[in-house]
Point group: C2
Chain length 130, copies 2
C-alpha cells in the first residue's frame, strides 16, 4: 500500500503543496527531533511510510528501527513518548524535522541522557557534555 | 583507507572516548546542521569517512552527495560555506550534529530559502513557512 505519492518533477518536489517523501532504497526517510521549547536537537531516527502516516495521524512519533527492522512507537516501553507539535519537510523531501515535547521523564535517549547528542568531538576524541 | 575505527562493543560505542562512526551500507552517516546562533535546524546531509575527516580538519562542512556520488565542499559554488563551531555525535554514532555559522548569503538551501526546512505539514499538505 502506498500512502504517499511521488513528486512528478523537481518543482513539485521542492515547491509543491503535496507531501511526497523521497523514501530511500530501504523505504526510509530521516527524521530529526527538536525540542519544541529549548530548540535542542534531541535525536535522529528513521521513518517508513507507515511510521510517517501514524505520526501524522496520532500526533506522536513513530519510527522504523533499522536494527530491529520493525515499526516502533517511541516511548512504548520507555515512556518517552514524543508529542509532535510540528512536522517540517526539507527541499528534496528526504528529511523531516519534528518539533516535539518529550513526555515521560522528558528525555529521548536509551543511554540515560536527555538527548542522544551528549558527546562533543574535541581534538578527535569524544567528551561527554550533555 | 580507514580513517576511523570500529567500536568493539556497545559500551565503547555509547560511552567511550573514541570517535567510531557507524557508517551504513553505503559508507555514510547523517549530519544535521544547526545554526550556532539561532538554534534553527538548517539541513540534513550525508558524510562518508573522507567528508567527516575533512570537516574535522578544516572546520568547514564537507559532505558526500548521494545523488552525485561525489565528495562535496558545501559552498564551493554557492558561497554558502558552513563554518563548523562544534561537532556532536549521537549514542550509536550513526548521526552527527554540527553547530555552524553559515557564510556567504547566510543560507544553506539551493532553493533560495535560508534553511531547507521551509515547509510545514498542515492537514496533510505542505505550506511554506520559511
Amino acid at each position: 500500500m502506498t500512502r504517499f505519492p511521488h513528486a512528478p518533477d523537481a518543482a513539485a518536489l521542492e515547491r509543491g503543496p503535496v507531501l511526497a517523501p523521497s523514501f530511500d532504497a530501504e523505504g526510509l526517510v530521516a527524521a530529526i527531533l527538536q525540542h519544541a521549547s529549548t530548540g535542542e536537537v534531541l535525536m535522529l531516527a528513521w521513518m517508513n511510510e507507515e511510521a510517517l502516516a501514524r505520526t501524522l495521524e496520532t500526533g506522536e512519533a513513530w519510527f522504523f528501527s533499522r536494527s530491529r527492522q520493525a515499526l516502533w512507537r517511541k516511548g512504548e516501553t520507555s515512556g518517552q513518548v514524543q508529542k509532535v507539535l510540528e512536522v517540517r519537510v526539507d527541499c528534496d523531501q528526504d528529511a523531516l524535522l519534528l518539533k516535539v515535547e518529550p513526555q515521560g521523564d522528558g528525555g529521548v535517549c536509551h543511554v540515560g541522557f536527555p538527548r542522544c547528542f551528549y558527546r562533543v568531538v574535541e581534538a578527535g576524541a569524544l567528551v561527554e557534555k550533555p
